[in-house]
């Protein structure tokens, strides 16, 4: 099958994880206090309507059968009825996926650029003041909550300088690069310290690695050793960390979408929790978890492309 055979194999290996994810979201809803159907239909619903919905979602059957109903409905895009929106959950979610995905990719791009610049800068100036400064900023930066960064940015660039809109989501990509710049920057800044610390530490460890010394003993210049050998070897651990960071980023968008009032999944989730719109909570959680699974798959592909030793 060759090195890329896993592209066919991997999706099958993800099945147990996806089943696990669906199980957990299912159990979460089971644990909610009160009857979700009554919540869903409101206090004035007739017994007939309640019975109809029960049968529709298999809620009058044993738990295992209920789970089966849940899976088959979810696969078809039916996640139940939203109380707050008085409409099926599916369409409500679909309209909100795009801003969130855009925000995550935008934020990721910004943080990758920041990380590369800072980590390379620190590693090349190892042990001197730029290195110490970057290191200190990274250690301190981990502790700054993203929503506070967002508030400061809003105060400075929206309220004081009036360069950017305070909130919202534009109609097309170009508009959004401008509309979502501050939120994306906020998310980018929030994860950059972790990534930079990791990459800088790896750079420095790899600069001291045996193979780097062997390269120097062949008379290769420091610049060449860094760009051709050390850099690529150092990317691997950080790329692996990227999978975790994407999960972190997705969590971050939940907060940031609320700070900047962006109509995405995160804003929807928080609103749903506050209004006890449990079917929405369940569906959003499921969708975001699938997002992490996809991100990890992308990380696997990147790892195989970078490292000839890895076989999946």
């Amino acid at each position: 099958m060759g090195r890329y055979g896993f592209l066919l194999k991997r999706p099958f290996q993800l099945i147990p994880v996806l089943i696990g994810i669906s199980l957990i979201t299912f159990v979460l809803l089971q644990m909610t206090p009160g009857d979700p159907v009554r919540l869903m239909l409101g206090p004035k619903a007739s017994q007939a309507a309640i019975d109809f919905v029960r049968a529709r979602y298999g809620l009058d059957r044993p738990v295992l059968v209920q789970y089966f109903y849940y899976i088959t409905n979810a696969v078809q895009g039916d996640f139940g009825q939203s109380i707050a929106y008085r409409s099926p959950v599916g369409p409500v979610i679909v309209s909100r996926i795009q801003p969130t995905v855009f925000l995550i990719l935008y934020g990721l791009a910004i943080s990758v650029m920041l990380t590369l610049a800072l980590a390379v800068g620190a590693a090349r100036a190892r042990g001197r003041w730029p290195d110490h400064t970057i290191r200190f900023l990274c250690v301190a930066g981990v502790g700054i909550p993203s929503y506070f960064i967002g508030l400061l940015l809003i105060m400075a660039f929206c309220l004081h300088f009036r360069w950017f809109p305070v909130s919202g989501y534009g109609p097309n990509v170009i508009e959004n690069l401008w509309h979502l710049f501050l939120p994306a920057l906020t998310i980018g800044i929030a994860v950059t310290p972790i990534l930079t610390r990791n990459l800088r530490a790896t750079f420095i460890q790899q600069l001291d690695a045996d193979y780097a010394m062997a390269c120097r003993s062949k008379g290769l210049s420091e610049h060449y050793v860094f760009t051709r050998h050390v850099f690529w070897n150092s990317l691997l651990p950080t790329v692996n960390l990227l999978g975790v960071v994407v999960a972190f980023l997705i969590g971050g968008t939940v907060v940031i979408e609320n700070v900047f009032t962006i109509p995405g999944l995160g804003a929807l989730l928080v609103r749903a929790v506050l209004t006890r719109d449990y079917f929405v909570v369940q569906a959003v959680t499921l969708i975001l978890a699938c997002g992490v699974v996809i991100a990890n798959f992308a990380v696997d592909v990147a790892t195989v492309m970078l490292d000839p030793r890895v076989k999946l």
């Binding site: 301190a140 981990v142 909550p145 972190f248 975001l288 992490v292």
Partner: protein
């Protein structure tokens, strides 16, 4: 050992080389907040909860050092009382995960095999959820508040410690000294407790402080979204959210609690970094 070819340094010089400056700064910052939290009633005579409609939105000054909020409560007082909540979130938030995570990691890594495979599948599923989203989902089910915050953290964050301990235990179970203990007929529980655990726990100890930073950021974020500590109890994240609508007119309501979160989290982060350096370079 052989003859020592070391020019010994004085103890003071050695300590100065070994203890990072950042660690000292971090400890001072953390202790500062702990002291404020403990001494809150002594330092301030204001009530953190009682509404004072006559003195709303006062700017910082002699009366209210850091101003007052929309209901006339003293911001400084609320910050130092809020420190109690946020410190509790940071320190108690890591207790559940470390106990559960270490136990699972130890058993999973040491025994391996089918048990390990099952536990690792559970772990894989757990980390497939975005950390923060799963916490919110669990809080949604249990209802907001500190208790459900601790429970949800334990359900979600055990994976960090399990991964750290398991990776060590996996190596250690094949280490010669563990094999030696087995050939001497030691039982598995004794081997895990005395031979694996003490040698597997170090990375977790280093990680605890970093984890406390993440926990405090997470906890205050929940407060900010209205899913954490419920009003009127003062909590920094919630205070920042309350001030969000007054950003142009009364910036102090949000900014000062924000600075509080940052300084405490930074202090903990510096401690974490210093500890990591100290433990990794030690003999």
């Amino acid at each position: 050992m052989t003859d020592t070819a070391i020019n010994p340094r004085s103890t003071f010089a050695r300590l100065r080389m070994q203890i990072p400056v950042t660690l000292v700064i971090g400890v001072v910052m953390t202790l500062f907040w702990i002291a404020l939290a403990l001494l809150a009633p002594v330092i301030s005579h204001y009530d953190p909860i009682k509404i004072d409609v006559l003195h709303t939105l006062q700017p910082p000054g002699a009366e209210h050092w850091l101003g007052s909020d929309a209901t006339g409560r003293d911001v400084f007082t609320r910050i130092i009382y809020g420190a109690r909540q946020d410190l509790a979130m940071a320190f108690f938030g890591v207790v559940g995960p470390i106990i559960l995570g270490t136990m699972i990691g130890l058993v999973s890594g040491y025994f391996g095999g089918r048990l390990d495979a099952v536990l690792m599948r559970i772990l894989e599923v757990t980390i497939s959820f975005p950390y923060f989203v799963l916490v919110i989902a669990i809080v949604a089910v249990l209802g907001p508040g500190l208790k459900s915050y601790f429970i949800s953290l334990t359900c979600v964050n055990w994976v960090s410690y399990t991964r750290l301990v398991r990776s060590q235990a996996l190596v250690l179970r094949g280490a010669d000294f563990v094999l030696a203990a087995r050939t001497m007929g030691l039982r598995h529980d004794r081997i895990m407790l005395f031979h694996i655990l003490p040698n597997a726990i170090v990375p977790s100890v280093v990680f605890v402080m970093t984890d406390a930073v993440l926990t405090i950021v997470l906890g205050s974020s929940l407060g900010f979204l209205g899913l954490g500590v419920q009003p009127p109890t003062p909590e920094w994240g919630a205070m920042i959210a309350e001030g969000q609508t007054y950003l142009t007119s009364a910036w102090w309501i949000s900014i000062f609690p924000g600075i509080a979160v940052c300084t405490l989290a930074m202090g903990l982060s510096l401690v974490a970094d210093g500890l990591a350096r100290l433990l990794n370079t030690g003999p």
